[in-house]
Each structure stands twice: as structure tokens, then as C-alpha cells.
């Protein structure tokens, strides 16, 4: 019997994605577990695995299609010798599965609406309540009812119908709903630079449609700045001891082969932050309306810059991992992040973030909290500065680190205490290797 293959949700927040590539052609035999297509979301590229067997009767969504809604039919699977039905609607639905989610798949068979679970959601016993992160609120693949006129005006104005509340019959979106909505794209482009040339038409700004990642970054960070009362605490940390330790450690690496390693300052800072959180766990928390969640595990999200955005892959239980493990893991995650190959559970659900801009030579900066976490540490460049030791001027390699904290969950004194703990660890770095 013909079945629909539906656009899978690769993450709970995913509402649409790009069908970047078909790995099977129409007429190909498909076996359960075969990879049939590649799907790109705001954050990752994933392969989609077939659940059922059959012949790929028709590809409904051609490759390269953007904005494919979750649960929209992307292909029709038929039995050998069966005619391909004309109407997609006629075929009952079978969801395709993202390939890497083998563990989650059994659960998904029982509950199709929750078929993809990031690791932290699946292992909810580790921290009950954490799954209720605000970023997971949007129901994936909701069908939007709108009048044809409303659809047309929305597309002309660049308004996403999914963001509107319909006031028509049964919540149908009507023209008035679209006309009352504020356009997402600014009506007028900012004035072009340079003096206007008299008589010449003003130069048009180049219009670049926002990628789905840009939209997610915009939405999540706006939410954070609007809803999370940030406060900031800065401290100067001397790095000489840590740099010296790093040189000695790296000198111990074998010249080649599997055991080779090269610890970076960033790797050491991940471990240092994790240890500071263990010493002072009041920052390893999440604020919710009813209660504050204290997480027993310390999972550090590290901001990685990727083309047109950033992503925060996670070093889980970083306090319990060796520098060598952290280094290898961070390198692998960063590489796969840049390739768009991260799995959802690899970037969803950390407990604290680090943003390191040291390599750009900045003196200091403050970061926006990555909700629902309660804190993020902004690490600037280490540079030689004059420091006062006793009554003597001396030269030290100093780094300014700025902590951003959710004041709903953490007060200033605790933030300062934590930063001092971090400074002690970095300036006396042996705890990083013990």
C-alpha cells in the first residue's frame, strides 16, 4: 500500500528545513534503514533513514527545496508493482527517520509526535524539568490555515504566516490578520553609506534573505535579552602559569600516531570553567517560573563560529574529563559543526556556555546568555600587561573574563565568588590535570 514519507523533525524546535539532497531516485528500491535523503536545518545537516520497505514511487519535494514544513509529505513509497497514487493526501503517512537517531527510534514508533528526542530529553531522569525549555514550545509542522489573499499579501510583505494568529472561522488567517501584522523585513533599507549623488537614484541595499539559522539566532537571543535580566561581572586572570603548564603538557605529546595531542588554551578553559562550576554549583542551574533546577552534571556548551552564524556543541561532564579527552572532543565537534554535521543532541541541552574570542585579540566583551542556561563566560585575549605585585610593577599575561548571569537565578555575590574560584583554578592550574 502506498505510504507518504514525511519531512522529519530533526529537533523539537524544527518547524521546517531544506531538503538538500535525495540519496535515492524515483523507482529505487528502499529497504528499512536505507539512507534516502539529506535534510538541512538551521543548525545541522542530517541523513534521513527509511522506516519501511518499498519502491520510491514519487519524489514530491525536489532536492534543494527550502522551507519544507515538518510532516509535509516529501515522497511516496509504494509496493512493488503498485501504481503511484496521484494525490499525496490519499496515501497514509509514514514518517521518515533521521539516521543518527537509532536510539530514539523505538520510542518514536510508539509516539510519532515525539519521534526525535535530543539526548537530554530522552534521559530526562538526569534532570527532570529541563525538557521544558522555552525553545521547545513551538509545535512542529502545524498546518497553517489562511485565505489565499492573506497568503499572497503575507508573501508580498515578507510575513511568516506561522507567526500570525488567525481571527477568521476556526482560526483561519484572513487579510486583516496579515495587514495588522508588522512586516518582518524593514520597509526601508538603511541609508547607503557615502554622500548621496544628486539626481541619482539611491543605491539599493543588497537584500540577503535570512537563513533559518539566522532566524533562530535572532529569535533566541532576542528572547534572552528581553526575558533574562543579565548582569555582568569581570575579572582579570593571569595566564602565565596555565600557559607554562600547557607547554609542558604539549611537549609530552608523542610526535605522531594516535596518542598525539595538542591542548589549547580553550580546552583548558573548558576544564577550568567546569571545575569552577563543581566548586561553586550555584551557576550550573536553570531558572523556571516555579523552581530553579540544579543540574548534577556539568555540560559545557562552547560557541563555535560557523559560516553565517554560530552553534554551541557540548562537552558533556567536562569536569570529569581529562584535558586530552576534552581537546579531542572539542576539535571533533568544532570540525563537524563547521561541516553542518552535528547531531541535535550534540548541540542541545548544555548547562553553561563559554564564548572565547581570544583568538581575535579583543580586550574584553560580554556575551548574551544562551537560554535556558543561567550563565555564559566571555573569554577575551590573553595579553602582556603591567601588573602590580607587592609594590613592584611586573609583566604578566592577563586575560579579562566577563561572566553574564541570569539574575533571576543567581545573585551578584555568587557570580563574583564563582569568578574568583575560576581565577584561582586558572592561576594555579594543577587542578586541571589532577
Amino acid at each position: 500500500m502506498a505510504t507518504n514519507i514525511l519531512m522529519p523533525a530533526l529537533s523539537p524546535t524544527m518547524t521546517e528545513g531544506t531538503l538538500s539532497r535525495w540519496l535515492k531516485k524515483e523507482g529505487d528500491t528502499v529497504r528499512s534503514g536505507d539512507l534516502i535523503a539529506e535534510i538541512e536545518t538551521d543548525k545541522a545537516t542530517m541523513e534521513v533513514e527509511a522506516v519501511d520497505e518499498g519502491i520510491l514511487g514519487r519524489i514530491v519535494v525536489p532536492e534543494g527545496s527550502e522551507g519544507v514544513k515538518v510532516n509535509a509529505p516529501i515522497a511516496i513509497l509504494v509496493d512493488e508493482g503498485e501504481d503511484v497514487p496521484d494525490a499525496v493526501e490519499a496515501a497514509p503517512a509514514k514518517k521518515a527517520e533521521p539516521a543518527p537517531q537509532t536510539a530514539a527510534r523505538n520510542a518514536s514508533d510508539q509516539d510519532a509526535s515525539n519521534r526525535i528526542a535530543p539526548a537530554r530529553t530522552a534521559s530526562s531522569q538526569t534532570a527532570s524539568g529541563q525538557t521544558a525549555s522555552p525553545s521547545q514550545a513551538a509545535p512542529a509542522g502545524k498546518r497553517v490555515f489562511a485565505s489565499p489573499l492573506a497568503r499572497r499579501i503575507a508573501s508580498q510583505k515578507g510575513i511568516d504566516l506561522a507567526t500570525l494568529e488567525g481571527t477568521g472561522p476556526n482560526g483561519r488567517i484572513l487579510r486583516r490578520d496579515v495587514e495588522n501584522a508588522k512586516p518582518v523585513a524593514p520597509e526601508a533599507a538603511p541609508a547607503p553609506r557615502g554622500a548621496p549623488v544628486p539626481g541619482a537614484a539611491p543605491a539599493e541595499a543588497r537584500r540577503v534573505p535570512n537563513s533559518s539559522m539566522r532566524k533562530v539566532i535572532a529569535r533566541r537571543l532576542s528572547e534572552s535579552k528581553q526575558n533574562v535580566p543579565h548582569f555582568y561581572v569581570s575579572v582579570d586572570i593571569e595566564l602565565d602559569a596555565l600557559l607554562a603548564l600547557r607547554s609542558r603538557l604539549n611537549a609530552a605529546s608523542p610526535g605522531e600516531g594516535d596518542g598525539q595531542f595538542k591542548i589549547s588554551v580553550n580546552d583548558m578553559m573548558i576544564k577550568a570553567v567546569a571545575l569552577a562550576l563543581r566548586d561553586c554549583p550555584g551557576l550550573n542551574v536553570q531558572y523556571t517560573e516555579a523552581e530553579t533546577l540544579h543540574f548534577p552534571e556539568i555540560d559545557i556548551s562552547m560557541a563555535v563560529s560557523i559560516p553565517d552564524g554560530l552553534i554551541t556543541p557540548i562537552i558533556r561532564q567536562a569536569d570529569r574529563k581529562s584535558l586530552r579527552e576534552i581537546s579531542a572532543e572539542a576539535r571533533d565537534l568544532a570540525r563537524r559543526a563547521r561541516d553542518g554535521k552535528l547531531k541535535p543532541e550534540e548541540f542541545q541541552g548544555g548547562t553553561f556556555s563559554i564564548s572565547n574570542m581570544g583568538m581575535f585579540g579583543v580586550r574584553e566583551f560580554s556575551a548574551i546568555i544562551n537560554p535556558p542556561q543561567a550563565g555564559i563566560l566571555a573569554i577575551a585575549a590573553g595579553e602582556k600587561r603591567a601588573v602590580v605585585r607587592g609594590d613592584q610593577l611586573a609583566i604578566a599575561t592577563v586575560m579579562t573574563a566577563t561572566l553574564s548571569v541570569d539574575h533571576r537565578a543567581v545573585d551578584g555575590a555568587l557570580g563574583a565568588k564563582w569568578l574568583n574560584a575560576l581565577r584561582d583554578i586558572v592561576q594555579n592550574p594543577y587542578s586541571l590535570v589532577i
Partner: protein, 467 residues
Amino acid sequence: MDKFDLIVVGGGPGGYVAALRAAQLGKNVAVVESTHLGGICLNWGCIPTKALLRASELNHQLHNLAEFGFSAEKVSFDIEKVVARSRAVSRQLSRGVAGLLKKAKVRVFDGRAKLAGRDGKAHVVAISKDGKETGRIAAPDVILATGARARHFPGLEPDGDLVWTYREAMVPKALPKRLLVIGSGAIGVEFASFYRNMGAEVTIAEVADRIMIAEDAEISGLAQKAFEKQGIKVLTGAKVGPLDRKDGTVSTRITTASGTTDLVVDKVILAVGIVGNVEDLGLEQTKVQIDRTHIVVDSFCRTDEPGLWAIGDVAGAPWLAHKASHEGVICVEKIAGLDPEPLHPLNIPGCTYSRPQVASVGLTEEKAKATGRKLRIGRFPFLANGKALAMGEPDGLTKTIFDAETGELLGAHMIGAEVTEMIQGYVIARTSELTEAELKETVFPHPTISETMHESVLAAWGGALHF
């Protein structure tokens, strides 16, 4: 004193529909009707005039059979029988309304209703018959659906004998030889068409610079041409002088831009608008606002007095039965705590059942232009439509007006055979907010005159196929 959930004053197309809807929603409802269930629409308006117009179309066809290869001699009619049939249709429908109300367990009170203060939170309604109070009922909500009546002008007062309103015009004892119709709205034009097709000499005098002023100017121009072709004399920009009634005739002088016309006719029909029935309802002691004989209401038919509602003609233009009925439903659903959609005036179709028929919805070309929007306008003549030709109805036009940017159907205007039955297609399009894309995609049955609706849309967007 009997207590109800809802009292409806007036049993016309607004009131009785409101009562039926309220009964459906489980309300205990009373209707107070002074004269006849079904109101003007059913007894003295829409329905009996359609019966008359049907008879006049038959008369026209019987005198134009040669085109179809027929011949008939000594074709004649008995005006009394024509009128009798029209009355019979009205009676049948009025009885039907009574049956519907009975089945819905709506209590119908025979008499005039007048608000008589409050009993606690409920409005008290006093009912009287022949000037004597026959009872009092009360309900927290009262819907006023008292309708409207013909407007009178100083110097042009009707007398029921030589100078008629719609009321007398509907039940002629004899066919007038010469007739003057003052006013060219739907009512005036329909009577002009009826009497002309029955054989009378008809003159229409319209004070505005064109007839059927509510319609698109192009359509009203086509209507005027069609009427003139049938032998109706149409005077626009016309001021009618005093009506001189003498020896069973009426003489008057009509002044237009091109001069004066002295006219002697047997009958005059006044069709110069209507006034709302707001008198003697006890509104003085309420907060109800009245603006030029109409009760002021909001988009859910609420008056300024809590618990008092008004629908239909008494609540303002357009004075159309279907508007009244729809308001009745909206009003009752609002009272019942549902969440109805308010009535959108531009989605109310207007129909005139003259020969040719005229039907429209939305903005005229003139009003569409005034919005400043870029327009796309399509026209398709009946002359290019197979069914219209086969029917012997080649005179007609379907005109559509779109917003060029959004594809919104701003207005649709039709003149010709059967257009009153077809306009609903465009009304659905407007109500559902369809664009030209869906109308273009729609498969219209062949052969029908409705194909002109499709072709007109195609014409607006780059080319009709058959013209």
C-alpha cells in the same frame, strides 16, 4: 407577565430568521408581529414583485416568439389573475414562516410592540392590538426588526389612487396606460420593467445624473440603454415638479439639463427611498440613538441601550432582506455568547430583477479607483457566450475589478440574463478572500452564462479566451 430569553419585534426576514436561530440555540423566543409574518419582503416586496416580474417576462416572450420560430395570436392577460398569483405566492410563503416558527416553538404575538421600561434587568414589551394593550412580556434581550416604509417627499405625497407607493403598485386593478416612475433604485427600476413589459408607456425620472446610482456607472449606462431600447423613457438629472391630479390623470413638468418635459400620466409610482420604522416603539425612554430615521448600531447590531439590538432596514443601509437575515443570525449568536463574524458591507450582494437583471458585489470601478490602488479590470460581453446566444439573451456584461498588486477581487458587476443567480459565485470569492489565481483555476461548466464570470477574470489578467 410571560418571560422569555429573547423578544423579537417584527417578523420580517430579519426578525423571523433571528427567532429561528435563537430557537436553534435553545432560547425561549417570542416574536411580536403587527401585520404579517415574513414582513415586507415576503408580503409586499421581494417575493410578490418577483412573481409579477416573471409574468411580465412571459408577456415579453409571448410577444417575441418569432425569433424562436413560434407564432401566437391574440396573446392576452388578465391583470387581476396576474396579481392574484403574486398574492398567492406571498400567502404560501407567509404560512410557511408561521409553520417554521411553530415548529421551532417560537411564540408569536399578534400586535404592535412598545418598550415599557424594565422589570429588574429585563426589558418589558407591551403588546397592543387596535390601540388596546393586550399583554406584556419581558426578556433580557430585545431585537428591534421593525423594518422601513416608503419615503415621502413634500409635493409628491402618495394618495393610493393616482400616486402610488410600492404597495399599490403591486396590486393594480387595471394596467395603467401611461406611468411615471420617480426614482431609479432597485424598486423603481423593477416596477418600470414590470409595467413596460406588460405594455404600459413608462417614464423613469431620476434626480441623479444616472439611473441605479448604487451600481457601477458602466453597468447603469448599459441598463439605461437596454431600458431605452425597450421603449422606456429615461430622464436623469430630473427634477419633478408638483403633481397636478385632475380627471383621473396626473400632470407634471420634469426639468432636466436638456430642457423641460410636460408629462400626463395615469399613475405615478414613488420609489424615492425609504425611512426606518422607529416611531411608537418606546425608544424615547432608552439610550437608543436614531440617525435620520435609522437606529444606530455597532457591527454586532447592539444599540446604545444594553439588551436592545436592532437589525435589518431599521438599522440602516443597505436595505436588503438578506442583509437583515444575516444580521439576525449575527445578533442572536452574539447574544448567545458565540463569536460571530461581523457583517462586511462590501460582501453583501445587490440584485435588481428588472429585464435585464443587474447584480453586483463589492466596490464599483469609481470607488475602487478612489482607494488609490492599481486596478485590473476585466469585461466579458454575453455576446461572446454560447449559452447566452442559445437562450436569446445576447445583451449583458460581466465586469470584474481586481487589485493589481494583491489579486483581491474588489468588485464584480453583472448585467444580463440570470445574473442575480450567478453573483453568489463572486460573493463566495470575496467572503473567502480568494484571489484571481483560484478564480482562474476554477472550472466553470459549459455551456453556461457563468462562463462569462471566468472569462471576465481572465480578461482582467491578460486575456479572455473567447473574446
